[in-house]
């Protein structure tokens, strides 16, 4: 058991790193736990062009390096470990780590983010890393001059498809609805792109192949018609699921598993705040995650000050 911490931040994406910056400047004794090195989901984003202050855009990895560098100037030394549980001991909150270490503080900010949702079809798990991918920047270059499928219709699916056109010969963009959800500027670019063919009202029912992906079975949801597409890869961008399993029901969550907070990032458990993609909210962006992180750190500071008065 380690004592005398003010705040434990779990997660080192934009929300966690921003919370660290605010907490460190408030002179809270703070530690940040991250299972990898800081950066979060943004690390897999090829190009960020909606974060203010970068009019030409910036790569996700570079932006996160700047967030980390900023936090390091304030003393950040991330604990490379995975949080596996949150428990309560009176006024104290205990964050249990995979290594067996336990971090104890009156306040905790949960900023564990989210991870890509799986399709849940036969062949997906077996062929992950063999043509099934959830990261275009990681795996795109392995599909040079091939025909591939992308599944999804939101910002990520469309943005990553546009990125993949640099490498591949052709993309089938498979979407279960008859229009995209992605922001208009991205839609315009994708709809005009000669390498992207849209398959509307269509779902993937099976991923085919033995050693590697050789095709996907698709189904038109309007007509029920089935077809096999010959593709060498399938990139899946159908949304995210929150990384909240480790909390094991300690905090109130919504039906999707996202942590419910008030507008000040307070969760159902006093002293515990949530920030970023892990939180139930409408808009999940780097800039809103950073905003959540700042608010959570500010509220943690207030919580600690109130506690000292009593």
């Amino acid at each position: 058991m380690e004592r005398e911490l003010d705040l434990v931040i779990v997660g080192g994406g934009p929300a966690g790193l921003t919370a660290y910056i605010y907490a460190a400047r408030a002179r809270l004794k703070t530690v940040l736990v991250e299972r990898l090195s800081p950066g979060g989901q943004v690390l897999v984003t090829d190009w960020v062009e909606n974060y203010p202050g970068f009019p030409e855009g910036i790569s996700g990895a570079e932006l996160m390096e700047k967030f980390s560098a900023h936090a390091r100037t304030l003393g950040l030394e991330p604990i490379l470990d995975e949080a596996v549980g949150l428990t309560v001991d009176g006024e104290l909150r205990l964050v249990h780590l995979a290594s067996g270490r336990i971090l104890v503080a009156p306040t905790v900010i949960v900023a564990t983010g989210a991870s890509p949702k799986k399709l849940g079809v036969p062949g997906e798990a077996e062929l992950t890393g063999k043509g099934v991918s959830y990261c275009a920047t990681c795996d795109g270059p392995f599909f040079r001059d091939e025909v591939i499928a992308v599944v999804g219709g939101g910002n990520t699916a469309v943005q990553e498809s546009l990125f993949l056109t640099r490498f591949v010969r052709k993309i089938y963009l498979i979407h279960r609805r008859d229009q995209l959800r992605a922001t208009k500027i991205l839609q315009e670019r994708a709809l005009d792109h000669p390498k992207i063919e849209f398959l509307w009202n269509t779902v993937v029912t099976e991923i085919l192949g033995q050693e590697k992906v050789e095709g996907v079975r698709i189904k038109n949801v309007k007509t029920g018609e089935e077809e096999v597409l010959q593709v060498g890869g399938i990139f899946i961008f159908i949304g995210i699921k929150p990384q909240t399993e480790w909390l094991d029901g300690v905090l109130a969550v919504d039906e999707g598993g996202f942590i419910v907070t008030d507008s000040e990032m307070r969760t159902s458990l006093p002293g515990v705040f949530a920030a970023g993609d892990v939180r139930a909210k409408a808009c999940r962006q780097i800039v809103t995650a950073a905003g959540d992180g700042a608010t959570a750190a500010y509220m943690a500071e207030h919580y600690l000050a109130e506690r000292r008065k009593t």
């Binding site: 299972r35 990898l36 090195s37 950066g39 943004v42 690390l43 897999v44 984003t45 996700g60 990895a61 996160m64 490379l80 470990d81 995975e82 995979a98 290594s99 992950t128 890393g129 063999k130 043509g131 991918s133 959830y134 990261c135 920047t137 990681c138 795996d139 270059p141 392995f142 599909f143 050693e211 590697k212 890869g233």
Partner: protein
């Protein structure tokens, strides 16, 4: 022992002919999750010194070896024992997940 850098040229000698099991991290500079996992790989190289050799292979500079092992995603970690691939992990995962596989590889 620091992480060793392997290439298409020395893969046979450094990995396949190694006396102890080898963990090879297939990575590239443009891969964000590869950067994220790098500090974990370095920690493992220190902690398992003498028991497990930890190497990195840049897939951009060395296309032959990734092709041979069917790499279609990075980061991919492949464990080699007596010249044979015995376990693999795709994607940036937590240190504890990698350690579980290391125990299996070293224990078997």
């Amino acid at each position: 022992m620091a992480v060793c850098q392997v290439t298409d040229q020395n893969f046979e000698q450094e990995v396949l002919q190694s006396d102890i099991p080898v963990l090879v991290d297939f990575w590239a500079a443009w891969c964000g999750p590869c950067r994220a996992i790098a500090p974990v790989i370095e920690e493992l190289a220190e902690e398992y010194q003498g028991k497990l050799k930890v190497c990195k292979l840049n897939v951009d500079e060395n296309p032959v070896t990734p092709g041979k092992y069917g790499i279609r995603a990075i980061p991919t970690l492949i464990f080699f024992k007596n010249g044979q691939p015995v376990e693999s992990i795709t994607g940036a995962v937590a240190k504890s997940t990698i350690e579980a596989v290391i125990s299996k590889v070293l224990g078997a």
